[in-house]
Assembly symmetry: C2
Homo-oligomer: 332 residues x 2
């Protein structure tokens, strides 16, 4: 491996000067710089970031934890962050936490021991306490899709209760009164909050929430199917269903059709998240928009500010969801 030392000898300068050329620090005389650049090219020098990081105590790398590396939701978020960080010449280390406490901790540890300059965390299993403690240490960090009172300044999340409310409110506005709900995983905050919003909307409309009309899934498409099957098997009557997310809505639509019901003629369906393919479905899916990509971008910008002192950039701590009316809902 070619080292700075070899380059310096070839160029007839000190290794400190070579380092200066590489990092563009201090002023190096144009002539010396040329000399060094030539030597580097001739020798095929490649900078050793590991050694540089050790010496400078900076890695120029941001760690990102997401639940999974696949899926429209996380894809959009990663992509948003990556774009912002790349422009700032920072690198990103993406790992998957798999919504498991031990795994999430382990991945955060790995990121920290790799001395990431900052962390963007989309974790679901780790406790608030752990995150609060982590935040009190020296690593800048932002928590995405989660609101923690004690470190609210470093959190950014969507008002899911409100989103859940809006979804059901939309169905109510269309005249539906028998509204089923296919909840996301209820051990996740998102699932709980969205359902909570649903119930609130019903309540405000003077309708009593009927537990028989609520089924729990796990945010995956097939669980949406299963929810419909269970509801229908129980002969529940409903003209509309709100779902924990778009995937579940997709599954629900398929199950409804399989069982001979038309969407939206017989049953209106509303999703949540507005993932990429929501508008590819037929009819296009009515849903609640979750600006994931923007959140990914925002988190990255904020991190840039905190870790590297870039131009001020604020974090919108609680974003407001938006209703996107398309083709899967209609007036009764």
């Amino acid at each position: 491996m070619v080292t700075i030392k070899q380059v310096s000898e070839r160029a007839g300068v000190s290794s400190a000067t070579v380092s200066r050329v590489i990092n563009n620090t201090d002023t190096v005389k144009e002539k010396t710089r040329k000399l060094v650049l030539n030597a580097m090219a001739e020798l095929g020098y490649r900078h050793n970031t590991i050694a540089a990081s050790l010496a400078s105590n900076k890695t120029n790398t941001i760690g990102l934890v997401v639940p999974e590396l696949h899926g429209s939701f996380f894809g959009a978020m990663m992509s948003g962050s990556e774009q912002v960080l790349r422009k700032a010449n920072k690198h990103m280390f993406v790992v998957a936490g798999h919504s498991d406490d031990a795994m999430e901790r382990q991945e955060i540890d790995a990121l920290l021991s790799r001395r990431c300059d900052a962390l963007i965390l989309h974790v679901e299993a780790i406790s608030n306490e752990y995150l609060i403690k982590l935040a009190s240490q020296n690593v800048p960090l932002v928590v995405v899709n989660r609101y923690i009172e004690e470190i609210s300044e470093q959190c950014t999340s969507l008002d899911n209760v409100r989103g859940g409310y809006m979804a059901t409110r939309h169905l109510l506005d269309l005249g539906h009164t028998h509204i089923a709900y296919a909840a996301g995983a209820l051990f996740k905050a998102d699932g709980v909050h969205r359902l909570q919003g649903h119930k609130q909307a019903l309540h405000d409309a003077g309708i009593e929430a009927d537990d028989q009309l609520i089924e729990e899934g796990d945010f995956q498409a097939h669980s949406g199917e299963a929810c419909i099957d269970r509801l229908l098997d129980r002969q529940q009557q409903f003209t509309a269903i709100a779902c924990g997310n778009d995937e579940m809505a997709t599954g629900a639509i398929n199950a409804l059709r399989r069982r001979g019901l038309r969407v939206p003629e017989d049953v209106s369906v509303i999703g949540y998240d507005n993932i990429d393919y929501a508008s590819y479905l037929t009819p296009k899916l009515t849903t609640i928009d979750y600006p994931v990509r923007e959140i990914g971008e925002m988190a990255a910008r904020w991190i840039l500010n905190q870790a590297y002192g870039d131009a001020r950039q604020s974090l919108t701590h609680i974003l407001t969801p938006e209703l996107i009316v398309r083709g899967t809902t209609r007036a009764i």
Copy 2:
């Protein structure tokens, strides 16, 4: 920051012993190990991977380049690789090359200067020569979704000509003779090969390929829509259309419906890739399966073998696509 030295002093041993405990190398007396572990816990020691990497010249990290961090296709691949590497206690550094020559090179450089032990490359713009040269250097690397004669042993790809052939063959088998084609980006090998297969199938069936029935898109959904619009605006007659990938097929279906044509009653549509949501569409999309996740896993296993000498693991160099018949195609 707590260092090995501080831990060693606290435990009353040498730093070498602490290192041994951390890395589980050599045998350390159980009692000393306990002593060290306690000291580490008390001091809140966190291993510095950067320093370890510099000293050992290994990072236990694999670099992965994909065109984009979002999208079902890359998501599945990343996820497949991640799963395999995590089990082997290796880490993954994912970066996006954005199908741009300069960016791809730059990202590979970044990965190399971070001293990744190995690379998995899904690059689209970089030249074969560059990859061949890279492969001749000391970093183990596997090229995904691309076949390069000179380094075929390190490549894994799908036979896209064959897949394109199969798709159109399927339509022909159903009795279609007026078959349109919505090609993917033709500056990408995948786009060209799939189209080539299509033409071959027509030729073998004694049908002359009509350039008027071929439109080029860019693998995105909206380009599928545009292709249909252009074909229909030109009053082209066709009862079936094969598409460059599933996204384009999705767009095509939407455009056909918008213009009053039913799928598959009036026009049969076949996609390519079999991405996640292909089976969520209505009707479910007939397509060609591209086992992306498996490819991601396989690449990771092979890398594990090459870079760390894990149990032998071979790479399937050219995979065979598979036809998945669902609801968007029917006999004429």
